[in-house]
């Protein structure tokens, strides 16, 4: 079984996210980078499927040269083949251009080594949150696609994917090759082991340049909403606090 996981390098922010002066990027001066959480789960799912059913896990990213870090991370948790499509503009491409780039990259990979039975995306990226790229790629490849997936099972040449909805599950049966958008919670992603980390240093990363047409969507500026200041009030310590607590509960109408 050939599985491809598409991942994105995103900042790992704290509770306050700063924006650069030109308003076009998250200010990453103090930040480390990570793989979008949904995609970490997609990677884990791919690794587990490959372990259970045999096969390989390819990992693809579009990003700056530094996104090699995320591919090596993928290598440390079960990835086998790695492709970095360079975007050295310092700016995310719009969703259409990203989708076209990925589609072309997949075409090249499949031309070399055969069709991917399953292509996994994260439900949405942790930073831009466009919810588009996976769907656009699936459409371009003319393959079935479901987003919001919280469970995958393989049955011969088809697969069953579950999507959580209010009050239950939607169960999809798809013929392969297929595309899925995976949601956090589908599994508990493993951490890299020290050996895995060290082995990932030797992983062979293919770097590609792909020219694709931009779409009409443009980022105008990021805006940081006003912070909600929450005041914590210590009502007292020990038994002395009791009367204030009662007053407060009363005020809130709980009593």
């Amino acid at each position: 079984m050939r599985i491809l996981v598409c991942v994105k390098r995103v900042p790992a922010p704290g509770s306050r996210i700063n924006v650069t002066e030109n308003g076009l990027n998250v200010d990453t001066a103090h930040l480390g980078f990570t793989t979008s959480p949904h995609e970490e789960c997609a990677l884990e799912e791919a690794a587990q499927l490959a372990e259970q059913h045999g096969g390989s896990v390819s990992v693809l990213t579009v990003g700056p040269a530094e996104a090699e870090e995320q591919l090596r991370y993928a290598a440390s948790v079960g990835g086998n083949e790695f492709t970095l499509v360079l975007n050295d503009t310092g700016q995310d491409w719009d969703p259409q251009r990203t989708a076209r780039t990925i589609t072309e990259a997949i075409a090249q990979l499949e031309a070399d080594s055969g069709v991917f039975d399953l292509i996994l995306f994260g439900n949405e990226s942790a930073d831009a949150g466009g919810y588009q790229v996976g769907v656009r790629v699936a459409v371009a490849l003319d393959r079935p696609m479901v987003n919001g997936i919280k469970g995958i099972e393989i049955e011969d040449s088809s697969l069953v994917a579950n999507r959580e909805v209010d009050g239950g599950l939607e169960v999809y049966s798809l013929l392969t090759p297929a595309v899925l958008g995976v949601k956090e919670g589908i599994n508990l992603p493993r951490y890299p082991t020290m050996k895995g980390r060290l082995a990932s240093k030797k992983a062979d990363i293919q770097v590609a340049q792909i020219e694709a047409l931009p779409g009409p969507q443009q980022l105008v500026r990021l805006h940081r909403p006003e912070e909600k200041v929450t005041e914590t009030e210590v009502l007292g310590t020990g038994p002395d606090a009791a009367s204030r607590v009662v007053d407060l509960l009363d005020e809130l109408g709980v009593l």
Binding site: A12, P13, G14, R16, A29, H30, G32, Y191, M194, R197
Partner: protein, 841 residues
């Protein structure tokens, strides 16, 4: 929430291990109105304490650090927050095994039970260690891990329960206000985002943020935030099965600069081996911006890979553990790796309590509280941690970062006691540097100054005086036989010493006599032209300093002190200036050059260059006069720290080079040679038994014990007088002695040479530690060859019952003992020219 106060006696900024312990000790010592602030939430406001590994290896070579560590362990134990699990340092190299012998010596000195282990013995303690990669171990059963956050919480609570402390978390300090004080700005208020607190005293215990907070008041705290990487790896069955937080001793893999510490089912792997990664304070994110906490910065995995490989070499199973948590943890590094404690130089009543490890936190809390309460600390003499030790050129970020970058990888390194810095050299030079360079001077740094330690141009003297080398590389490192040859040459001919690094202050004005009398023990109101060598005491009666004072005029004195103590001494003399402006203080170090000329031919040589009569009758020992040397104006002072006749010659800096040239030009008939500080500071000194501040002299010893008490006490009042008078009522319980090594031969059959680095214990003939009734351990304070008498000498304090001449004892060096005997005690410790005839010739 209690109302935000408008005033307080003392504001402590920073609720890490130091700030929390400090407020508790202040409360215990009677401070009743303390406010503790932190910009982060409690109990973990996000500083270095919050991510610390929390383990304590008590054995160190530095007495000051050991004192603080043992006091901290005592406090953690008292609170029930210490888990004594033992710890093993393992060696992968023969050099490290040698270092373990030094550690055994330190352990013996400080009374910390420790032992050397074979690889298989290490494996008995820690079954998952690969014994084939190690050569042995150094085991200390009292190694412990502590709960530093809970300690902080309990410390705060204690002070709060006493009604002495108000705590405000999530409170950011925006400014520290000052107003004109007696001699410098004085703290008046701390401004925060919650309000302004007027206060008498402010303590900055802000760890990596300390420089920024100090700057608000116009002060400097010389430290830099630096990364220490660590990763939590696991789980491992072998650890989970123990069902304990720490079932195995903590392992420090010394040669890879890593440690492995069990944390329940996982192992924490930490490193001091990666490239130094320094940050500026402004690069630290706020609590809100940080992904974890401000001091848990994003892990840069590439920097840690080699350490992972080495960790797996030592403990193979680690390779299969998941890296669940990994950070670039921030800690504070200072230019010399010691803490920065005490009153800041620039602002009155603004204190620094920074660059402190968990292992020293509670001890530092107590030390600071004592210092703030009594004017001096009891826990230990903090001269190595005193923030005033740094000179201006050592307080800037360029110096701090260069030195921090240099010493970071020495955290677990084998650092020779004489080891010299490689970076930031040549910043402070005397005026004769070009000449000493031409003579092949090898420079040691003295308080930032470049000081010739020996001269390669004297290499020919080694054969002439038949000086032997040292067999063991360690003993011969940062040492040369040239020094002993220079010494013997000085004793027979004449020697010129570059003393540019002397720290020189002048105090003048109508109030100067009562001021100088107040500052020092010995009487200074002597005729113009007199000199006074005198102890300077703390209020405790212990040594603050020792120095020489010249009376230049009825209303002017010159104070001369060593390069290592200039910062501390300047602080002390300035701090105690009268507030009425009747005394003016001037630091003249940079405007006066000092050269020393000594030896049996020295006076004759100098006489060639002057019309002034330099004979003892008209220019007696201890006096000073203005003299023209080859037409250059100088102040000559007949004195000697090396035991031979001669002078210290002071001249304005711009004449220093000409003076050097005049003396060396006149030198050949007298066989004058330049000699280095190894002669001036060690061999010449030890033959005469002269004491050195920081070695023999420190706060826990008194002038009586050091043999520096005069028969009478002057009438004038002085700092420490009450304690001094009290001390004089009884015979001292310990005395400074000089001991002769009777045999230097080690087990391997060659001679070894103790360093006098402060960690070598003097033992009874049966090998027991010697501790006096005040609890002070007998240890070598100075060690050095005495070439003129063909002996290797040690200085040490001994309990009075062991001070008798010829008492046979032992000294431990590199974990072997050598026979020594007491050769001198009391006031005159000279073994060379005991009657001082040569100096007064």
């Amino acid at each position: 929430m209690s109302e935000f106060p408008k005033e307080a006696q003392c504001v402590v900024i920073g609720a890490g291990i130091v700030g929390n312990c400090l407020v508790s000790h202040l409360s215990d010592m009677g401070w009743k109105d303390i406010v503790l602030l932190d910009k982060g939430p409690l109990p973990n406001p996000g500083g270095s304490t919050g991510h610390a590994s929390n383990f304590i290896f008590p054995v160190d070579h530095s007495k000051e650090i050991v004192d603080l560590t043992l006091e901290s362990q005592r406090q953690y134990e008292e609170m029930g927050l210490q888990n004594t699990c033992g710890g093993i340092e393992v060696a992968r190299t023969p050099e490290r095994m040698e270092e373990f012998k030094r550690r055994m010596t330190s352990a013996k000195c400080w009374g910390i039970p420790s032992s050397l282990l074979t690889p298989s013995e290490v494996k008995e303690f820690v079954p998952f260690v690969s014994e084939d990669v190690i050569l042995g171990g150094f085991y200390t059963p009292s190694v412990s891990a502590v709960d530093s956050l809970e300690t902080g919480t309990q410390m705060r609570k204690k002070a709060q329960d006493a009604g002495h402390l108000a705590v405000f978390a999530n409170t950011e300090v925006l400014d520290i206000e000052t107003s004109a004080g007696r001699n410098k700005p004085r703290v008046t208020a701390v401004v925060t985002d919650k309000g302004r607190i007027e206060c008498e005293t402010v303590v900055i215990a802000c760890g990596v943020w300390s420089p920024r907070i100090a700057e608000m008041a116009g002060a400097t705290i010389p430290l830099t935030p630096a990364v220490h990487q660590m990763a939590d790896v696991g789980p491992f069955d072998v650890l989970v099965e123990t069902q304990q937080e720490l079932a195995y001793p903590i392992v420090r893999d010394m040669d890879t600069f890593c440690y492995e510490r069990q944390t329940a089912g996982s192992m924490e792997v930490g490193s001091y081996a990666h490239r130094p990664i320094l940050h500026r304070v402004d690069e630290i994110p706020s609590n809100e911006e940080a992904a974890l906490s401000p001091t848990e910065m994003p892990f840069t995995a590439d920097d840690f890979d080699q350490q992972m490989e080495e960790a797996i070499e030592l403990m193979e199973f680690l390779g299969d553990g998941e890296i669940k948590y990994a950070i670039n943890g921030l800690l504070s590094l200072t230019p010399d790796a010691n803490p920065v404690l005490g009153p800041t130089v620039e602002v009155e009543n603004l204190w620094s309590a920074a660059a402190v490890w968990i292992k020293e936190g509670p001890g530092v809390g107590r030390l600071m509280a004592e210092w703030m309460t009594h004017g001096y600390p009891h826990v230990t003499d903090p001269h190595g941690a005193d923030i005033t030790r740094f000179y201006a050129q050592q307080r800037n970020v360029h110096h701090i970062e260069a030195r921090a970058e240099e010493h970071f990888n020495k955290t677990y390194g084998i650092v020779h006691p004489r080891e010299q810095w490689a970076t930031r050299r040549g910043v402070t030079n005397g005026p004769v540097r070009a000449r000493t360079d031409a003579l092949g001077a090898f420079y040691f740094e003295a308080g930032g100054w470049e000081r010739p330690h020996w001269y390669e141009s004297n290499a020919d003297l080694v054969e002439k005086y038949a000086i032997e080398g040292r067999e063991h590389e360690w003993d011969g490192r940062w040492w040369t036989p040239i020094s002993d040859a220079e010494h013997l040459h000085m004793r027979q001919h004449a020697a010129l010493v570059d003393l540019s690094a002397f720290q020189i202050f002048e105090v003048a004005g109508p109030g100067v006599v009562s001021y100088i009398e107040k500052m020092v023990v010995n009487k200074c109101d002597l005729p113009v032209g007199s000199s006074i060598y005198t102890p300077v005491l703390n209020h405790s009666g212990g040594f603050r300093s020792d120095l020489t004072i010249l009376r230049l005029a009825s209303d002017r004195f010159r104070i001369i002190t060593g390069a290592f103590d200039g910062g501390r001494d300047e602080y002390w003399f300035r701090q105690n200036l009268p507030g009425d402006g009747t005394v003016h203080f001037e630091n003249r170090t940079n405007s006066i050059c000092t050269l020393g000329v000594w030896g049996p031919r020295a006076v004759d040589l100098l006489s060639e260059l002057t019309e002034t009569d330099l004979s003892q009758t008209s220019f007696p020992y201890g006096s000073h006069q203005e003299v023209l040397i080859a037409g250059i104006p100088t102040e000559m002072f007949r004195v000697s720290y090396v035991g031979d006749a001669g002078f210290e010659v002071y001249t304005p800096m711009q004449h220093g080079l000409a003076l050097w040239d005049a003396i060396t030009d006149a030198g050949p008939p007298f066989d004058l040679r330049p000699v280095g500080a190894a002669v001036y500071g060690t061999s010449g000194r030890i033959e005469k038994g002269y004491r050195l501040m920081g070695s023999e002299l420190e706060d826990e010893y008194t002038p009586l014990e050091a043999g520096l008490a005069r028969p009478k006490v002057k009438a004038a009042d002085f700092i420490g007088k009450d304690a001094y008078l009290e001390e004089r009522k009884e015979e001292p319980c310990a005395q400074l002695c000089v001991l002769v090594m009777e045999d230097l031969t080690c087990d391997a059959g060659y001679e070894r040479f103790p360093m006098g680095a402060g960690n070598e214990p003097i033992l009874t003939a049966d090998g027991s530690r010697i501790v006096d009734v005040k609890g002070r351990v007998s240890r070598v304070t100075t060690a050095g060859n005495a070439p003129s008498i063909g002996k290797y000498l040690l200085m040490a304090y001994l309990p009075s019952n062991l001070c008798e001449l010829d008492t046979k004892l032992l000294v431990m060096y590199q974990n072997e003992t050598y026979p020594v005997k007491v050769a001198a005690s009391g006031a005159n410790l000279a073994l060379f020219d005991q009657s001082n005839e040569r100096m007064k010739a």
